[in-house]
Amino acid sequence: MRRRFLYPRLLAFFCSALLFFPLLCQAQAIAVKAKKIYTVSAGIIENGIILIEDGIIQDVSAGPEVPWNVEVIDHGQKIIVPGMVEAHVARGYDVANETNALTPFVTVLDNIDTSHDTFALALKDGVTVLHVMPGNNTILGGKGAVVKTVGLVVEDMLLIPESGMKISVSGTPSQTRMGVSAQLRRYFSETKEYIAEQKQNAREEEKMVSTPGSFRSPERVKYESVADLLKGRYKAYVYCQGPSDVVRAHNLSETFGYRSVYLLGPECYKAADFIAEKKLDVMLDPEFVYFERDPLTEEVNKIDVAAVFHRKGIEFAILSDPDRAHTRSLSYQGMKAMSSGMSLDEALKAVTIIPARMLGADNLIGSLEKGKLACFSVLNGDPFKLSTNVEYVYIEGKLVYERAKDEELQKLLEKKIIE
């Protein structure tokens, strides 16, 4: 079981150890040059240059004058696209969920295994930012984190420490939907009481002499993270298996006043109208194809979910397939999206700026423009083509992946030759 991850772990470690540290003490300003630059925000720039200082993009344009002391990296005929962003990943750790159904207080920071192959694979694919979240099997799963795909210690990877609360409104193995909803309602209203109490206590403490280090009563501690959710510190990421769950979840968030992003199961295409009407933030299930059996004439209809949403004009983020992450990477999903009718531009948006917006990080990542982090990948062809490879990946202006030096890849290729 664990052996599978050993090699990538080692690799991730070496990648980071060899590349990351030396680069720390290197000239901070660089300029990257390429034939084509897809700046999702401002169209395509031919023969453009990206000026980077301390990992922040200073300028992206056709011909800016480069200061004499800035080292220019020329990628010649290659093509630059912004680093892809995956808005929900339930991988990169050992155990996805606690056995207890209500654990909102736990955080995935305690779980992220920086040497997990998830990150190495994502990097190879040109994904620079992942949103790591607890799994779908608990009602209140815990807090997630937005991380870059390179780093030794979690803090090195960290972009947003407490990025959201994982909620699952669909029935878990031991719970039916009504139980789930009822428990959520209870938990939320209890939390509201808790918030009220806190306010009360605060007022009282002002009056009396404050004692350093207030002792936290164990049965109340658990409410704090949900309290943060209700105060709007972060969004809820709600897993909805069926269409009715979407309505239910939306209704719940309306009732208790928190913002949410919806992680849709394939059947949710039925609720497309509702989603369009309410303008919900949604992420599609990695499986774009849904087979439906007619209750009457047991015929099986095949539905292209992505196409349905696209036709309704709904913006959505694309996710990679958790089970087959090796084969169904994010770029592959992009190809699938294009095959179900999206244009290259839209597909690119669906893996860069749209998820960035959902994560509330569109001021940092998601496109190549002034002031954002210099996270991008250099391709040898247009994105979302089977023939295209990721040659280099830059994160915050530092070269963190190089295809030529990818040992694992080399091995695989050698094997191919032998066969």
């Binding site: 009457l296 004439t297 047991e298």
Partner: protein, 456 residues
């Protein structure tokens, strides 16, 4: 509960009433001849319908069915000119008189226990799930030995106009023992059992794995055949041996005594063990009784047909929901079907009246409740079939003529014709009408229910 109790009391009283020998005398049973005039008579005798006709009953048998009522002299007349008469109905596969649980061997494993709680779980549930009732029904078992002939529920069935039933042991086993024909309403157990070997019952349905059930059944039959062979051999040897004994005694003693010593004497063959199971199955193999195999899905039906091909038994399918898919195979083998309790199959959105399908293909179809208490629904369910395209006469045949023919009793019951038992039911409306009620029931010419018998 209470409801049921009073029901039972009523029933017991009622059955006891028959046992009073004086009771029949009230109806002039001495010469035992009545003449019944009726508005309409469904003699399910080739679908013949007699309107404004009459039936002559002598000594519990029907002697005459005439199109125009001409009652003979000095015979008690019964006037049902407002009513309709049908033959007594037959439930072709029923468990009435049994309590199912006792004979049902549960094969499914106990539900999964949660590790930490096994103890508590057992405390509450564990016991009954843990040991299923251990009784395995064997081919030699006879339903007639186990049936509770005074089950109060018989009254319900009789009320529905059901006068006869093929009764089998309710079980999910492969072998269901030997079914028997019960005649309801006849008080004493002796004449309750009409024939105690109606057919050997087996079940393919109710088990996912048809293959191993087929295999087991096949083996049973094979063993039975071997058993028969061994007995034949034994008989032959015994014959030889006895002859030799006779020779020995007949030979003259003395002069040429060495002659006797030439013929080496045969040992007495030792007799093979009697095995009732094999005996029971041999009954079926010798086509003395039909083989009833419960088969619903198509593959089960096919398996049953294979058995029939190999052992040339008289096969009757019970259930047979999907038999309509292979009508020719049934026809060519003269296999008949006891359908039910399903009436309509939902397949791919269409509603298939498979009884009609089968009848249309010329296959003999009887209808059954296949439960210990579902019999009262018989006519109701047939009404549902009529709603979906079965004709009334066809529907009636399934519970009268066809049923009787399948069990080879057509000379006694199943239709209103000369020579048959005088079992018939008087209705106040068309049969299988939902508001139709039973006005009277006659068994062997004896009136069981006058009208007020129903209201109670």
């Amino acid at each position: 509960m209470k409801n049921n109790k009073c029901l039972r009391q009523a029933a017991c009283l009622f059955i006891c009433a028959f046992l009073i020998p004086a009771f029949p005398a009230l109806f002039g049973q001495e010469d035992g001849s009545i003449y019944i005039k009726a508005k309409k008579i469904y003699t399910s005798d080739g679908g013949r319908i007699v309107t404004a006709g009459g039936i002559l009953v002598e000594g519990g048998k029907i002697t005459r069915v005439d199109a125009k009522a001409r009652p003979p002299k000095n015979v008690k007349e019964l006037d049902f000119t407002k009513n309709i008469i049908i033959p007594g109905m037959m439930d072709a596969y029923s468990h009435m008189g049994f309590r199912d649980e006792d004979y049902d061997v549960r094969t499914e494993p106990p539900p999964p226990y949660r590790a930490p709680l096994t103890g508590i779980y057992l405390l509450f549930y564990g016991q009954q799930e843990r040991q299923p009732s251990s009784l395995r029904v064997e081919p030699r078992f006879k339903a007639s030995d186990a049936v509770y002939s005074r089950d109060p529920r018989f009254k319900d069935f009789l009320l529905e106009g059901i006068t006869t039933a093929a009764i089998a042991i309710p079980t999910t086993n492969l072998s269901g023992g030997v079914a028997f024909i019960g005649k309801l309403g006849s008080g004493s157990p002796e004449d309750f059992v009409m024939s105690d070997t109606a057919g050997a019952v087996f079940a393919f349905a109710g088990d996912r794995n048809v293959m191993n059930r087929y295999g087991d059944l096949h083996k049973m039959f094979r063993d039975a055949q071997d058993y028969r062979k061994s007995w034949e051999k034994y008989k032959k040897d015994l014959k030889k041996y006895q002859d030799q004994q006779i020779d020995k005694t007949s030979l003259p003693e003395g002069k040429n005594g060495e002659k006797g010593s030439e013929t080496k004497d045969i040992q007495e063959p030792e007799e093979p063990k009697k095995d009732e199971n094999h005996e029971a199955i041999l009954q079926a193999l010798d086509i003395k009784v039909p083989v009833l195999i419960r088969a619903s899905r198509e593959n089960e039906v096919q398996a049953a047909l294979k058995i029939q091909d190999e052992f040339k038994v008289r096969l009757v399918l019970v259930g047979g929901q999907e038999a309509y898919k292979v009508p020719q195979d049934l026809l060519s083998r003269k296999v008949s079907v006891i359908a039910g309790p399903d009436v309509i199959l939902n397949k791919k959105g269409k509603r298939i009246n498979y009884i009609r399908e089968l009848l249309a293909d010329g296959i003999q179809v009887a209808f059954c409740s296949s439960s210990s208490s579902g019999a009262p629904l018989l006519s109701y369910r047939l009404a549902y079939a009529v709603q979906h395209g079965l004709s009334r006469i066809q529907a009636l045949d399934t519970v009268t003529a066809h049923a009787a023919r399948i069990f080879g009793l057509s000379d006694r019951i199943g239709s209103i014709a000369a020579g048959r038992d005088a079992d018939f039911v008087v209705l106040d409306g068309e049969p299988f009408g939902l508001s139709t009620r039973v006005k009277g029931i006659y068994i062997g010419g004896r009136q069981l229910f006058p009208e007020e018998g129903i209201q109670e």
